[in-house]
Amino acid sequence: MPRRLSEGSSRREFLRTTAVGGAALAAPYVITSTALGDAETPPASDRIVIGGIGLGNMGSGDQRAFLGMKDVQYVAVCDVRTRWREEAKARADKAYGNHDCAAYLDFRELLARDDIDAVHIATPDHWHAIMTIAACRGGKDVYLQKPETLTLAEGPPMVAAARRYGRVVSGGSQRVLDDYRGIVDPCWAGEVGTIKEVDIAVGGPSRPCYLPAEPTPDDIDWDRWLGPAPWQPYNAGRCDGNFGTNGNSWRSYVDYSGGSLTDWGAHHFGGAIFAADLREEQPARVIYHPPGGGQGAHVSLEYPSGVVLHHNRPRPLRPAEPSVAHQGAIEIHGDGQPREPKAVPLYRDAAGSIYGDFIACVKTRERPFRDIELAVNTMTAPHLIAIASRLERSLDWDREAQAFRDDAEANRLVDRARREPWML
């Protein structure tokens, strides 16, 4: 049963055809007792009004975090799955003791609400760029789950939208700072000297999906779930939001995710790149090392500052050496020579969470810890590794042009056509 064209996807068409459904989904805006505040809670007029798009696994966690913040008023949810949408609305309503949280099927309806200051987005990756850019154009600040980009080409327009419209856009890897202080602190303190090499081990890239068709449940608007991705028939394993990449989740498949390489990579590369203070840089050269000597292929990234980051380099870890900082899958090698310490950038809220950092920056208009530009730079690393691995050759990356030098084939993999009517 082939089907393919994204139906009913224009906002005007949605508004025209689902007026009744929209009215049924969206609760009226009502001033309640929680709007007045108390000794510990600011009145609603002083709170950041927020909505959420994508309320599955990570989205529900993000929602809980924002619901727990007294300077946030959570007013709307959007999801293409009925159950997740209703559960998310119920969580918000329970938190405030009312029935005020509105529930939307179409994210453009939520973004059209002018009383909303900010949104958090935790959809599958193929929606991230489109929704983030739309939110910025609408004057909303954005907390965007990682991995922030699905393709290399998505990063620059996301950064441009944030900067052009003066938006606070935070990426969503809480682990970069929370999990890797064990290497961040000694590296920024200068204890390993000038950093020369970084070793990191992350899983592999995603793959095409050809799972068989299954009956589409009533619980999901499949066309909206696919959005800009190629049309494929519903299969539970294609769209499940679990964190695995073994073929039973959207994180396994190239149309929706970069696989473990970008999913866990957003954390691990994020931690390594932060520890090595490379967040402002993008790699200049991608070196593909073919398999040999009983070892698999691996890829190295040369950064303009001279640091080389190795992904899956087949070598023993050496955590005992004083010039090496080691934590989990990351190993950072310095020259061991004394170096001036630098202050570690931290979250801007006293509570010390990435969510609090975002809300603090919404108020102050400062750039958050994982500002979208730093996030895009970080995600460039696994994207480049995926392309070099697929083509099995080394590549030169021109950051200014956002293109590979002298490699037309590699440049074909910088982006991909989106299903109509979606475009960047």
Binding site: S9, R12, I116, K140, Y210, E409, R412, P421, M423
Partner: protein, 243 residues
């Protein structure tokens, strides 16, 4: 290792019979050959001929998707006719663009422009998106003719003109008579054109756009959107100072 041509016969027979849920193992030989074809023009031509034959046959939608994903990487002008024939089919239009958008041969842009003239609605929006993604400045005149009123096509044409951001695109956007959502997209596109003008060193042109858009949004916008546009104009004007 790349396969000899004859050894591709069985895998291509498997592609022709492939469908959702089918065995992808035989396709791995073709995947490897596609990567190897980048440095082997003969293999590339052979693969393109075989892929075109699959597209011309009775292959399933899954098989046609598989072929388009490969042609996205290695397709040349030789593959354009087979792909162009799919552009008007709602089941295949997107995946044909998936390949054509990335094929740098001018024949690919010509095919997209021809389909743009023929199609309507969302399929037409798709052609607009792909031409914009290709940076096809030759599309500016036809895109300019589409930015009028308030429709999905007009909004997409405005977006595309903003992405192309040539002086001709900026002029077309300035003169567009639009309303509703399309008018909003025209504003975004004009701001993109202004940013491109600053990057190109044409600060007077950028300044004119920022001033015009800023005056239209007013000094004290009442909405988040209006304030964001105001911020964009003020920041943009600052970028045009000093030259």
């Amino acid at each position: 290792m790349p396969a000899e041509s004859a050894s591709l016969d069985a895998p291509f027979a498997a592609v022709a019979a492939f469908d959702w849920g089918g065995d992808i193992e035989p396709l791995a030989v073709i995947d490897a050959a596609v990567v190897a074809a980048g440095s082997d023009p003969g293999l590339r031509a052979d693969l393109e001929r075989r892929f075109a034959a699959v597209l011309a046959g009775e292959a399933s939608q899954a098989a046609r998707q598989y072929v388009c994903r490969q042609l996205c990487l290695i397709g040349t002008a030789a593959s354009v006719p087979a792909l162009a024939a799919m552009l008007t089919d709602p089941d295949d239009s997107h995946m044909a663009r998936y390949a054509l958008e990335r094929i740098d041969a001018p024949e690919a842009a010509t095919a997209l422009r021809a389909a743009l003239a023929e199609l309507e609605g969302n399929l037409r929006v798709g052609m607009i998106a792909s031409l914009a993604a290709r940076g096809d400045a030759a599309s500016v005149p036809i895109l300019a003719s589409l930015v009028a009123g308030d429709s999905a096509v007009a909004a997409a044409a405005a977006e595309a003109l903003g992405r192309l951001a040539t002086p001709e695109a900026a002029a077309a956007l300035a003169g567009a008579a639009t309303s509703g959502e399309t008018a909003e997209r025209v504003v975004d596109a004009r701001l993109a054109c202004a940013a491109a003008a600053v990057a190109a060193g044409d600060k007077p042109a950028a300044r004119a756009i920022y001033k015009a858009v800023g005056e239209a949004v007013g000094g004290a916008p009442a909405t988040h959107r209006g304030r964001a546009v105001r911020i964009a104009c003020q920041r943009g004007l600052l970028a045009t100072l000093g030259g």
